[in-house]
Amino acid sequence: MAYSNKVIDHYENPRNVGSLPKEDPNVGTGLVGAPECGDVMKLQVKVNPDTGVIDDAKFKTFGCGSAIASSSLATEWLKGKTVDEALAIKNTDIVAELSLPPVKIHCSVLAEDAIKAAIGDYKKKQGKADTAQATAQPTA
């Protein structure tokens, strides 16, 4: 598999790896994908409650280089955007920026899903004030 230089750059120098406190009411967490499918992305946003702007974004990804790059790029793009602007990020934007080949488009789809899940989680928290909840929970 030949990777584009941008994918390699994100893989070697991933931006914003890490975790934000899940329980913080201003933090939204998205956890998408499945281990048996070969990729899982956790993406978190921290929203400034006064401005509605995303102050910080972090990710952790289990997946191929393109999956890592897609989520790393997503965190870069999220910072400084309002929640609504964030929701406008499309997987095709990620495909174009990283020059992903057709077999890797699902990585960008997963990144878009992760953004939507994180924002969704944040909105849910805002709606239900203090019931902090992550998107995926152990069923047991």
Binding site: A34, P35, E36, G38, V40, F62, G63, C64
Partner: protein, 406 residues
């Protein structure tokens, strides 16, 4: 000593030709270019003599008689010829074939085609260690069974099946027994009579010979195995495989077989030492890594490890100056991990996290240490980036999580 990069550690995929093999082949491209089937001039005789020598060298490697060796274009063809050849020839006797789920595609897909033509195929499962169960085999046999095809050593995990025991069962039931010995031949002792096998596929490029040449051992006595040819033509190779012989390739395969026979014990001892060194270093430097398949019943130069919580392709990307294979095939929306690892019940996540290491004749200790150190670094880095590792460290049981499967 400085190491030369990239490092090749994928000897199961193919091996470089030994320089001594290449040297033996060279005159047969130019000086001795004759057609081994030309019976009426010295050019043909020379070529035929060279083929006869090679036939003996290949036969000696597996304890066979030279007359029992049929040269082919490789083990894919040998597997096709063995299985289709028996199926067609013994159709009157029965239509049932027994094989295993972890076989190479050249066996599985050949069997799949025969199923379309009305044959019945049993694909035996394997146990967690990668071995078939002899009880399963016995239970699968019926009076319609004409062939058992079980590989000697697996190409992904290096696990060695109980061939002698299977041979004894096949003999007792008077069923023909084929084994794909591509990964084992030249690497571990293999004798067709001790193992009671009737058909054996081997390939030159997996034992330091050239690509595009292989052989099928076809037993001539007790019992005499008959095959319906799958390629028709001039009746070469006792009518079982027509086509002008690839004399240069065959000479190379012969030389490769001879070298393997002479150097096998030394190579195996050295490589199992290096393989164990690699395994120990990785186990010391990393937690949560698992060897796939039996450690005991394994080729001396093979190691397949799952690095939990790290995906295989990203792992390969981090060690891009080391040539190895991954059990993960992250290339489509339906990410299919290795069917061999799945068959072990490894769990798809661990299958996605696996790397196959194949050591060989030119692997050095320095290379092993370089690969071990590099992997420890990359796995550590990727785990810091892995949400699964984080969850596991928080004490979450990943198998009880509800994942949104796309």
């Amino acid at each position: 000593m400085a190491i030369k990069l990239p490092i090749y550690m994928d000897y199961h995929a193919t091996t470089p030709a030994d320089p001594r093999v290449v040297e033996a082949m060279l005159p047969y491209f130019t000086e001795h270019f004759g057609n081994a089937a030309s019976r009426n001039h010295p050019f043909g005789w020379e070529a035929e003599e060279a083929v006869d020598t090679a036939r003996k060298q290949v036969a000696d490697l597996i304890g066979a008689n030279a007359k029992e060796i049929v040269f082919t274009s490789g083990a894919t063809e040998s597997n096709n010829l063995a299985i289709k050849g028996v199926a067609e020839m013994y159709r009157e006797k029965g239509n049932h074939i027994i094989t295993a789920v972890t076989e190479h595609k050249a066996v599985i897909d050949t069997c799949k085609r025969l199923e379309k033509e009305g044959y019945r195929v049993t694909y035996l499962p394997v146990q967690k260690n990668g071995l078939i169960s002899l009880d399963d085999l016995r239970n699968a046999i019926s009076d319609k069974t004409i062939l058992i095809s079980i590989m000697t050593a697996n190409n992904e995990i290096g696990v060695i099946q109980p061939i002698a025991e299977i041979g004894a069962i096949a003999k007792e039931k008077a069923i023909l027994f084929h084994t794909d010995a591509v990964q084992a031949a030249g690497k571990i002792p293999f004798n067709v009579n001790e193992l009671k096998v009737d058909l054996v596929s081997i390939s030159a490029h997996k034992m330091y010979g050239p690509k595009g040449v292989g052989a099928l051992y076809v037993r001539r006595r007790n019992p005499r195995v008959l095959l319906a040819p799958q390629i028709d033509g001039g009746g070469h190779e006792r009518g079982m495989r027509s086509g002008t012989l690839n004399v240069t390739g065959i000479v190379g395969m012969g030389k490769a077989a001879e070298l393997c026979r002479q150097e096998m014990a030394r190579d195996a001892a050295r490589l199992s030492g290096l393989r164990d060194r690699l395994s120990e270093r990785l186990h010391t430097g990393l937690d949560e890594i698992f060897v796939n398949g039996s450690v005991e019943h394994r080729l001396p130069h093979s190691l397949n490890i799952s690095f939990a919580y790290v995906e295989g392709e990203s792992l390969l990307m981090g060690i891009n100056d080391v040539a190895v294979s991954s059990g993960s095939a992250c290339t489509s929306a339906s990410l299919e991990p290795s069917y061999v690892l799945k068959a072990l019940g490894a769990g798809d996540d661990l299958a996605h996290s696996s790397i196959r290491f194949g050591l060989g004749r030119w692997t050095t200790e320095e290379e092993v240490d370089y690969v071990a150190d590099k992997l420890i670094n990359v796995v550590t880095r990727l785990r810091e980036m892995s949400p699964l590792y984080e969850l596991a460290k928080e004490g979450v049981d990943l198998s009880t999580m509800q994942w949104e499967v796309h």
